[in-house]
């Protein structure tokens, strides 16, 4: 506890790095998963294929994935971010597709009857109604990404894992505690925040 307080700035820096890496990965993953999920919602074959590929990527053990990327992209944040994007695709694609498929056909019909074009339908009806399921996917993906970022410190990506690895290397328990507990707290806080958002969306969207 003393070490933690004396080195609060060091922990804060690591936490900041951690959040930046995790957010970057999540943003990239979402940018890929959203269009793929939208197409997958309408075409069964795309859905099967996308889930099979993303599911395969998800199964690869974290550290093995990071190691396999080293010959291709070397050490550093790029390596970590590619791995994290790969890990979060499956849940994001699945939830975007499931969310859109869950929109009542009657609602879609009504919107079409009102003269909405396909893009309007997507942006103003389908995506807003799918939002709670999409946020549920983001929640799982965010926790995954935070967890992978801890390991990614081993390939020099920075973040809270750095404290853990330094602590292990120098046999300095307080450093390990600070890194590990802060990482746990971050994961729990993000999960709780997104759970709250999810519940609020369910209530307002009446899904």
């Amino acid at each position: 506890m003393n070490w933690f307080l004396r080195n609060a700035d060091q922990v804060a820096t690591a936490l900041g790095q951690h959040v930046v890496i995790a957010l970057t990965a999540l943003a990239i993953a979402f940018a890929i998963a959203l269009p793929v999920g939208i197409v997958a919602a309408r075409r069964e074959r795309v859905h099967t294929l996308a889930i099979a590929i993303a599911g395969f990527l998800y199964t690869i053990p974290t550290l093995a994935f990071l190691a396999l990327l080293i010959p291709l992209v070397g050490l550093g944040p790029a390596n970590a971010i590619i791995a994290m994007v790969a890990f979060s695709l499956v849940v994001l694609i699945r939830n975007v597709a499931t969310g859109i498929r869950g929109v009542s056909p009657d609602v879609v019909d009504a919107a079409r009857g009102m003269g909405m074009s396909a893009p309007q339908l997507l942006l103003r009806i389908e995506l807003p109604l799918a939002a709670p399921v999409i946020v549920a996917g983001l929640r799982v993906a965010a926790v995954t990404v935070i967890s992978v970022t801890v390991v990614a410190a081993y390939v020099n990506a920075g973040g809270l894992g750095t404290l853990i690895f330094n602590g292990i290397a120098t046999d300095h328990a307080p450093k390990i505690w600070s890194g590990a507990l802060t990482a746990c707290a971050l994961a729990i806080a993000v999960d709780a925040a997104l759970a709250l958002l999810e519940r609020r969306l369910v209530r307002t969207r009446g899904a």
């Binding site: 199964t59 690869i60 974290t62 190691a67 967890s147 801890v150």
Partner: protein, 213 residues
């Protein structure tokens, strides 16, 4: 690169065999311990509202914890080696099994249970011959998730001296020796895929025919 990895593997057969053995032992033991705790707990909790609520909440928090953080937290408490790694991995495997056991048991149609009771089945008979078979596919889905998590987590056990295939990866990264890294990374990936496939097949086989769509 793959050829170099193969040469490395052929040159270190004993080392590889031991690492693979330790990795499998860690994974199987952790999964068994977690299942032995989580399945009975889940069955007990499923029909008790308060306990189920508490169990689901605790398991949900447990599920969000980063694997490496849990392994690292065990280090100052229990030290390094096989046993501390096993302890941490068992903890990591608990939440998915517990959550799926509770979900599976609660997902059994109350009408079916009612019908069984009406036919004069005892509580134990209902559990063994009605609820359990109907819940098994969901429980196995939890085991599948836990198995992949444990195999993946066992790689990280190398950081706290747990041994296993992660040793090749960490040593390979430390010395920037790509072949050595691959000797750890490729088998462990295959192991995870095999577990995913195996549990998936088992899950389908154990699904009662009446539940198949």
């Amino acid at each position: 690169m793959l050829v170099d990895a193969w040469h490395y593997l052929v040159a270190h057969p004993v080392q590889f065999g031991v690492a693979l053995g330790v990795h499998l032992a860690l994974s199987v033991a952790a999964l068994s311990i977690a299942a032995a705790i989580a399945i009975p707990t889940g069955i007990y909790a499923a029909h008790r509202r308060g306990i189920a609520f508490a169990a689901v909440n605790v398991a949900n928090i447990g599920r969000t914890l980063p694997s490496l953080a849990v392994l690292a937290l065990v280090l100052p408490l229990l030290g390094t080696g096989f046993a501390p790694s096993l302890f941490a991995l068992s903890l990591l495997a608990l939440p998915p099994i517990l959550l799926n056991t509770i979900a599976g048991m609660r997902g059994v149609d109350p009408d079916v249970v009612d019908a069984a009771r009406g036919m004069g089945m005892t509580a134990r008979g209902i559990l063994r011959r009605v609820e359990w078979p109907l819940a098994v596919p969901v429980i196995f889905a939890g085991l599948r998730t836990a198995a992949i998590q444990v195999i993946s987590g066992a790689v990280l056990a190398a950081f706290i001296g747990g041994g296993g295939l992660g040793d090749f990866i960490t040593a390979g990264i430390a010395m920037m020796a790509v072949p050595q890294m691959l000797v750890g990374a490729i088998p462990v990936t295959l192991l995870a895929l095999a577990a995913d496939f195996g549990f998936g097949a088992l899950q389908r086989r154990l699904t009662p025919r009446g539940l198949c769509a």
